[in-house]
Amino acid sequence: MPVSLKDVDHIALLARLGLTEQERTSLRADLDAILGYIAKLETLDTRTVEPTAHVIELPTPLREDRVVNDDQAEAMVANAPDRERTYLRVPKIIE
């Protein structure tokens, strides 16, 4: 099924990407071509194959629930584009 501009808009919203008109058009064509190539996977019968999400079998490592670092709040927010003290400032969410 070919990718439509409507699909592109839907995916862009999910991905929180704003796109220019030109990007919409070129991404539609690119996705169409790439998905066309990827369709070769359909020729493989995988009904009895288990998926591989991860290649190493490691249990989730656990550690004691103990504070191991100092207060680094200032260092952690130092890169924020907009902040007040150690709070991050964002545009208004609720009218």
Binding site: A12, L14, A15, G18, A33, L41, T52, P61, V90
Partner: protein, 503 residues
Amino acid sequence: MDQRPASIAAARAALDRRELSATELTRAFLARTEGVEPVLHALLEVTSERALADAAVADERLARGERTPLLGIPVVLKDIFATRGIRTTSGSRILEGFVPPYDSDAVTRLARAGAVLIGKANLDEFAMGSSTENSAFGITRNPWDPTRVPGGSSGGSAAAVAAGEALAALGTDTGGSVRLPASYCGVAGLKPTYGRVSRFGVIAYASSLDQVGPFAWTVRDLADVLGVVAGHDPRDSTSVPRPVPDYASELTGDVRGLRVGVPREYFAEGIAPEVERAVRAAIDVLAGLGARVVDVELPHTPYAIATYYLVATAEASSNLARYDGVKYGLRAGEDGDGLLDMYRHTRDAGFGAEVKRRIMLGTYALSAGYYDAYYLKALKVRTLIRRDFGEAFERCDVIAAPTAPTTAFRIGEKVSDPLAMYLSDVFTTSVNLAGLPGLSIPCGFDADGLPIGLQLIAPAFGEEIALRAGDAYQRATDWHERRPDVPAAAGLERAGRLEGGAA
């Protein structure tokens, strides 16, 4: 006088005998960056002050009698490793102004070992690309021919080593991003087993595939760097708690009886005849040293690129959700923007075309209605690809193949055709999907004087097998002793060769 030794081993000998100080060595490499950077642009930042401070510390340690593998050795880091107090960009505008408050684990280990940081190397934005043309901060040129790409995504790291700006470099390899540029730039590059080196502080692209890997001229040098950066790190939950072998002591030069598997799927249509000839000749060299060559099959190889571009982009779409204009980096938008508009404006302004393409593809593959057909399907094919290797390694100890089907392509040649670019990784992505170690070393040159790479793939946590075979090959050949003659910027401009790819 140029005091740059040709390898870590040569520098080590000079430093340990006190014929050369780490400061003199560092100054020589910093001078080299001044000479070649105007042409190559392998580095996004030359960290001169830091380098000289590191060198002073190394000299003190040397004076106290310390003799360790990387003490005083100049290195560069792909600009995807967080470096405390040093701008880290990942090749992206969206990380504008980002100065990490901490060091990545590999950086901590290199510093502890006494290595000298020369600079941060250029890369495809967020490690997404095969040519380093996707960097937001300009392209990097191939030291062997500045009209060609260095490969990607760790192109700056490979080019810096090839041009003699450092003796070693670190990159990352998600689908070939260490091995491909190593091949195109004629240096040695290793992608270790998934879980061998900590990714703590490495900006994430595709977390089930990403792995840190070193570049150097010789396999022996690679073994030294791997020995320093490998090992368990509790801050990376995928880091495997497994002892690190003494890689250098595994380099015996003896490959007698080693079973070298040759997969016919890696010599299929699309491979340049000169590449095939050089790789087959390299396999003959190993056979001449007593290795036993056997045919193996990796029948799902033709599905690797499709599988990779679903798995990697799905993971990327999730990893890159963090760049939202709130915590760090760029915030774009207009007055009156709500939160959603701010996100969308920031991400549109901050990400380049290839990153957007991959986020879109990954989001599509994970979205309702398509998950089973694309993402889940890819995970199942990943199982088949992994199984291929498991079966092949029942018949052989190491797999020998080309790293890439061709030598370095021209700047601009593939930028408008994403699929053609993706196919550069046709022989490397399987190794990431299976989580295996893969080594690329130079094994010849084509008629244009461009290096060709031999890839040696080993079972999981079998780095020493690939390294031993690669080292034995380098003892028997001298491809790794050839050095590019990097032209001066002035000469290039006169010849009009800087046109077309300038950025």
